[in-house]
């Protein structure tokens, strides 16, 4: 656990004051140089054996699933997917919504937590943003091929063509094209600009050669002068301010694909907030899924601490509960509105042939995170990993329930079909998982996986007035956390009472 007391060399009076103090973000009083060494070491050193164990299968799965599966699909026809008449969205759109949702946690961490001054984001934002980029890449594959003839996918963009046909700007599907492409582009800009100073760090450590040249190109000639930092910080703030409404809009627009249609089970106003909360929920689970192993693999425990994992677990608990509320509210409104078809749609989800998917969704998304109410569970990495995996699976089932069960029972009984995916469906989806992991492993291999400059900024001595604070008469007084005081100094008495007494005594003196 964290060393929670602050001590200075000239501890004159040795008064101990129990206070509630923030846990430090970087443990063991690491120096700037240690941080640089540890993060750049990941890129500069040989990769651990486990990296290859993970990378080779991931890359192979990606090759077979995405490249092979899609080649087969293009050469044969989109009919090789299991999409049937009426359930025409099937797995491809389930997978699209699943992947695009995962990206949202990255932007939440990099933008919203930046605007709300949550400094703990600095240790995880780089990897989470990388996750966003790769997840959106995986997501983009599905709608592009789902159009049927992928070589006609350019028709999605409003470009003058010889048929003089223009896209329908009233359609959420077109909004989606704009939302997702903007999201990808702005996320990429955010990720890249955030990385420039860190790429310069690697550049300055490289021996002359091809590596130095490449890192030199991508670090743009960064010098770290304050006249650069000044503009840079402003740019970062602006991008955060732009990305915050953007990320909320993207999954809202995705939910409009459903909500603006006149289909029972989809035509509800709760969809945008429900989708956004679900996206952040699923995204944080994926951040944990990839960060906990990466942390162990490269020994990043002092930078990605239990505090970070605790915070992420709490966000999963919060968003999971919001999602649970949305599920229940959907059911309640279906009942309370008296809309016959709405009610039938939800009864079909619960009691129809897809009941198992509905219970998977409910159990994995709503019940499994509730375990995070207990601190012990948030501190046990196996439990955290297990819940994160539950949420990953549960969120995929959520999209399956929304899309497949609804389309399988539309208005006309003649349209009613039971859907099952084809082998190519499964192959392509598994392929995107491989692609995501392979890209993330390459990211760990070649790019700084933690924001070096920002992590340094969170250290105490990074404050320009640090020395002035040390000159203050209060410095040198040993501060211990209140609950530790209770545990170690005053095991019998209640902490609250002890705190009050001590405060009084110091106030008198």
């Amino acid at each position: 656990m964290a060393e929670a007391t602050t001590q200075s060399e000239n501890n004159t009076n040795g008064i101990k004051i129990p206070v509630l103090q923030r846990e430090e973000l970087i443990l063991n009083k690491r120096s700037y140089h240690w941080i640089t060494e540890r993060i750049c070491g990941v890129v500069e050193g040989r990769q651990p054996f486990l990296w290859w164990i993970l990378f080779i299968p991931s890359a192979l799965i990606a090759l077979v699933g995405v490249v092979g599966g899609l080649t087969y699909l293009v050469s044969t026809g989109v009919g090789v997917w299991g999409n049937t008449n009426r359930v025409m969205w099937g797995w491809p759109i389930v997978n699209f919504v699943f992947w695009i949702g995962i990206g949202h946690a990255g932007t939440l961490i990099s933008a919203i937590l930046f605007l709300t001054r949550q400094n703990w984001r600095t240790s995880i934002n780089r990897a989470a943003e990388a996750m966003t980029i790769f997840a959106v890449m995986c997501a983009g594959i599905f709608p592009a091929f789902h159009v049927g003839r992928v070589w006609m996918a350019w028709f999605l963009a409003p470009i003058p063509n010889s048929n003089a046909i223009w896209q329908n700007f009233k359609s959420p599907l077109l909004w989606d094209v704009f939302a997702v492409s903007t999201y990808f582009t702005v996320s990429l800009i955010f990720w890249f600009l955030g990385m420039v100073p860190d790429l310069a760090t690697i550049r300055d450590r490289c021996k002359p050669g091809i590596r130095k040249f490449m890192y030199g190109i991508f670090s743009l000639g960064w010098r770290g002068g304050n006249r650069q930092w000044s503009h840079y910080e402003m740019a970062y703030l602006l991008l955060a301010a732009l990305s915050t409404p953007l990320v909320l809009s993207v999954h809202s627009v995705v939910s409009f694909d459903f909500a603006t249609s006149v289909v029972p089970g989809w035509h509800t106003t709760i969809f945008p907030p429900y989708f956004v909360a679900g996206a952040i929920f699923g995204g944080f689970a994926m951040v944990l899924t990839i960060m906990i192993p990466a942390r162990a693999l490269y020994g990043l425990h002092d930078m990605i601490t239990m505090k970070h994992i605790d915070n992420m677990a709490k966000i999963i608990l919060l968003t999971g509960t919001i999602v649970g509320y949305a599920y229940l509210m959907e059911l309640f409104i279906a009942f309370y509105s008296g809309a016959k078809y709405e009610g039938a749609a939800f009864l079909f989800r619960i009691d129809g042939p897809y009941w198992w998917a509905y219970y998977c969704m409910m159990g994995l998304n709503v019940l499994s995170p509730q375990i995070f109410w207990f601190k012990k569970c948030r501190e046990n990495l196996w439990v955290v990993m297990a819940v994160a995996m539950c949420v990953n699976i549960g969120m995929w089932f959520e999209r399956f329930v929304i899309i497949v069960t609804t389309l399988a029972r539309m208005w006309l009984p003649g349209d009613w079909k039971t859907y099952s995916p084809s082998g190519v469906d499964v192959l392509t989806f598994v392929g995107t998982i491989g692609m995501f992991l392979a890209l993330f492993l390459l990211f760990l291999r070649f790019l700084p996986c933690i924001n070096i400059a920002e992590v340094k900024w969170t250290l105490k001595e990074s404050d320009a007035h640090d020395e002035d604070k040390k000159a203050h008469p209060d410095d040198g007084i040993e501060v211990i956390e209140a609950y530790q005081y209770e545990l170690h100094e005053n095991p019998e008495g209640s902490a609250r009472e002890a705190g009050i007494e001590i405060e009084k005594s110091t106030a008198e003196s």
Binding site: Q167, K170, S171, I189, T201, L242, S249, A464
Partner: protein
């Protein structure tokens, strides 16, 4: 090629930590220098005031960048939907009352163009990318992206003089003071 002219870029001095750098920056600013900079491994907050650096003008760029995104979005939506190719689908006619349905595209393009403006505006303001910079001639400067803090005063500053500037840097606590020479020409 045969004659190598070595041009003086300026003085570089190392400082112990952010606090020392901050105090030194105030003194360099008060000494009246204009062409100088503090180099740090991370953004030191408050250094802008200590150096007398004005707030970045980037937000103004981005405002107009955003405008340049929303205007084409409006033009694109109305010319195609009302003018060139009007369709009546989803119970929505193609006229001025359809505006609400165009909001998502307007919003997304505003963000997209603003994002590009941030990127290119920032690069323009920082004067990047560039292949090289005279200050990279200094060996010790490579540690600036790791854990060292520097102040560099350029020779082209009107107040620069070989002796007094060096003395000033020493007086305000600078270590490893180095005359950086540009040997690129």
């Amino acid at each position: 090629m045969s004659t190598k002219v070595r041009r003086v870029y300026g003085y570089l001095a190392e400082f112990k930590n952010a606090s020392q750098l901050y105090k030194a920056a105030v003194k360099v600013r008060d000494a009246g220098f204009k062409k100088w900079d503090c180099y740090t491994p991370y953004p030191v907050h408050g250094l802008d005031d200590a150096m007398g650096v004005k707030r970045s003008v980037l937000p103004y760029f981005v405002f107009f960048g955003g405008l340049s995104g929303v205007l084409p979005a409006i033009a694109l939506a109305y010319t195609t939907q009302v003018g060139l190719y009007p369709t009546v689908v989803q119970g929505k006619p193609a006229n001025i009352f359809t505006t609400a349905a165009f909001f998502p595209v307007m919003f997304e393009l505003t963000i997209l163009f603003s994002g590009f403006t941030v990127l290119f505006g920032l690069l323009a303001l920082m004067g990047l990318p560039r292949w090289n910079h005279p200050i990279f001639a200094s060996k010790q400067f490579a540690r600036v992206t790791d854990d060292k803090f520097f102040i560099a005063i350029e020779a082209r500053d009107a107040k620069f003089s070989a002796e007094s500037t060096k003395a000033l840097l020493a007086e305000i606590g600078g270590d490893n003071i180095e005359l950086v020479e540009d040997d690129s020409e």
